[in-house]
Amino acid sequence: MGLLEAHGLSKRFGGLQALYKVDLRVEEREIVGLIGPNGAGKTTLLRLLLGIHRPDEGRVVFKGQEITHLPTWERVELGLAATFQNPRPLRRLPVIANVLVAAYGPRGGRKGDWVKRAEARALDALEFVGIADKAKEPASVLSQGELKRLEIARALATEPELLILDEPFAGLTPVETELLAKSLARLRKGGRFGRLHSEGCAMVIIEHKLSELFKIADRVVVLNFGEVLAEGTPEAIAQDPRVMEAYLGEGAYA
């Protein structure tokens, strides 16, 4: 049984079929790349998995438990976490408070001096994405790239077992992109990052920067017009003529 299994997810917005019978399977510690042209339904799939939207049909199973109808926070408590494509910081709060909100959550446990541990974890999450020096500034002063990294720090502070990242490299410079890709690869293996995490975590990474993504992904799933178009290793996908065609219609192969 995979860590996450989505079966036949469909979602309609008015007259638009955003997703149609999509299956997705993620194994433990696997990095799955999720790609597809603009409007293919990638973000919609993320929202269904996190419970921000409810699917019209289909089910989601996480760690063997059906979560299709659970509220978002209960999914997070089980070990699911995700970032927003457009960062949604708590603008008037300090950067560290943004992460504390996540670290204080129920996944940190409630034993002994859990408050201290949560606070340490929040700092380590900022450290991990490299914005610890901005901890006391209000989130509103961060640059776009820093906001993207704050999103990731917030998700990491919940110590997820499956992390879904919506275009984590967008808006980052090439150097920042490479650094982040390396960090993500380390994160998947597990280990200690300060007081953060140790088990290793699976990831679904939605990206348009394919060359960076293909370096770290184990498997790639291609969405097009709300349906799974192809699935396979990065090498196979890179040579798949159907994928080229879907993207060439957009002229966006990067």
Partner: protein, 356 residues
Amino acid sequence: MTSPLRIWSLPWALRYLKHEVLALPGRTAALLFVLFLLLFPLFSQDPYLLRVLTLTALFALYAASWDLLSGYTGQVSLGHAFFFGLAGYASAILGRELGLPPALTIPSGALLATLAGVLVGLPSLRLRGPYLSLVTLAFPIIATGLIFLFPRFTGGELGLSGLPRLGQSRLEEYYLVVGIFLLSVLFLWKLAGSRVGLFFHAIREDEVAVRMVGVNTVRYKLLAFAVSAFFAGLSGGLHAHYLRVAGPDSLSLFNSIQPVIWSVFGGIATIYGPVAGTFLLFPFLEALRVAEELRMLAFALLILLVMRFLPQGVVRGVLERLEEECPRCKVKNAFTRKACRACGVPLHLEAREVKP
């Protein structure tokens, strides 16, 4: 960071007073304010002044309760009079029917208001922003309708009068209300600064983002409604017994808008702002009572001026000018200091850099 309070040790207390209280204008003002309230009757026991201060303290608690829900949590209530009035009526009716003393009926009324808070909070789980505010607006109107429908039970237009007094004398009532006011506001202030307060803040900023990191926003929103309604109800019950009448005025639109105005005047999402705002505005408006039209006009004019020149609130705006955050360690400093009191970094750098 902050060491535990050791107020029983006099040298420690004096040092704390000097370095942590008197070093900051805001805390000094808060200390003077508390001392003023506690010592005022030593200087004057003029019944009119005591009455104004008692009512001000009641309404300041009411405004602070509004701030916790609307300022902090972002669930803007335009029907707060529902909790205020409901608790007053509940206390009056419980006293009349069961013959219980105010010491029991006022807390019962506040608890009923708490339940009502959860009830009003339920729509907030689906509705956002102005839509929610409109729903909150409806509750006191519905309650007023019910009161006129059952005049035998509620006293109709005249309300229920002749409620038992809070205390034997004006002075006793003053200290009772001021005591409850100070303790309640201290509680609200501590709550707002706690972990729970952080969740309230966060929900106001972006509720979906907060859910996404595993926070049960339903629980915290209902908690904010419940706590806010409890203290609104507490002030409403005290108010009814202080004036010895629970009437439909307590449910009026005007009474719903009052805490909003005081809070906006003082500065929302601060707790101290609404309190200070009420203490600055209420006595002033009370003095204008001689000319009712002038009073409303002054009210409106004042609000326009505040929104124009200090949109973050008068008290908060002034305080932000008197206290300066250290750019490095973020500790607050009095504006007169040249270097940070915690880390020694020079303040007012910009001012110096401008010079050639």
